[in-house]
Amino acid sequence: MSEDTLTIAGRKFRSRLIVGTGKYSSHPLMARAHEAAGTEMVTVAVRRVNISERSKESLLDYIDTEKYFLLPNTAGCYTADEAVRTAHLGREAGLSNWVKLEVIGDEKTLFPDNQALLDATQRLVKDGFVVLPYTNDDPVVCRKLEDSGAAAVMPLGAPIGSGLGLQNPNAIRIIKEFATIPVIVDAGVGTPSDATLAMELGVDAILMNTGIAGAQSPVGMATAMRLAVEAGRLGYLSGRIPRKRYASASSPVEGVVGR
């Protein structure tokens, strides 16, 4: 099989697993998990530097930017204005014009605010950003985001950090059918089988953070997730057998002993 790469806005990735940086008990542990995940893209948040009590340790000391592409995010933003402002700051602090755009509409569920997300996507595309919006699992919203110039869409599998797995596989499949840009399931993956199922539906990649960082062994889970994403992708590419209601024997029916 020829090399299977993920291409977003002209940039190629061999790994289809994008990971977060939050919730690890230490930066060195995070770095080991990133290694185990085989990832090529990690997402980071943009925050005020704490002036009064600044840690001497910088996150970027533990992310080799030669190896991992940095994807700044607008996590924690609740309005289009906040998200646009944060994206611009992230571009200035970082090395690229890419942004994982989050505009949250509700604190309890962390579900996106569709209207503000579309608004912020349009503004950032106009400002020259490569925009990857975190969105509801709504095919119509995803189509509008694509029409607004998004470089990929990132529908949620389940609420952020919930580990519930894909709640609406059919919607994810329809989103993939509609889209001509990459579809990345972002959030909700709790187990390797969740990741495999998503990849078997044909999505292009998965972004996860808590599923790995929150596991008892983040390095072990990162390895499992890498294998799960690869297995699901290969399963999808290989074409599954049709579902049938009844058995069909896989051994010859002639020559059975004693018959």
């Binding site: 939050g22 948040a45 943009v46 925050r47 704490n50 924690g76 906040e82 700051l89 200035e92 959030a187």
Partner: protein, 76 residues
């Protein structure tokens, strides 16, 4: 003179430019982004942007995280 730095009052003594402020804070200019009175300052001009009494300066950097509470009330 006093400025507002990341939301809090901050005394500037003998400092005039963004570059000098970052140096006093021991921040690597390549790892932060700076907003001066709500306008993003390009790294190339940190040396030439003068800070005045009452100005508002935001200094941000990358931190670990996906989703978290509102950033305007969060300290990195």
């Amino acid at each position: 003179m006093t400025i507002t730095l990341n939301g809090d009052p901050f005394q500037l003594a003998g400092l005039r430019t963004i570059a000098e402020l970052l140096a006093q804070l021991e921040l690597d200019p390549r790892r932060v982004a700076v907003e001066h009175n709500l306008v993003i300052v390009k790294r190339a001009v940190y040396d030439s942007i003068t800070i005045n009494d009452g100005d508002t300066v935001e200094v941000v950097s990358f931190v670990a995280g996906g989703s978290s509470p509102r950033w305007t009330t969060t300290r990195a």
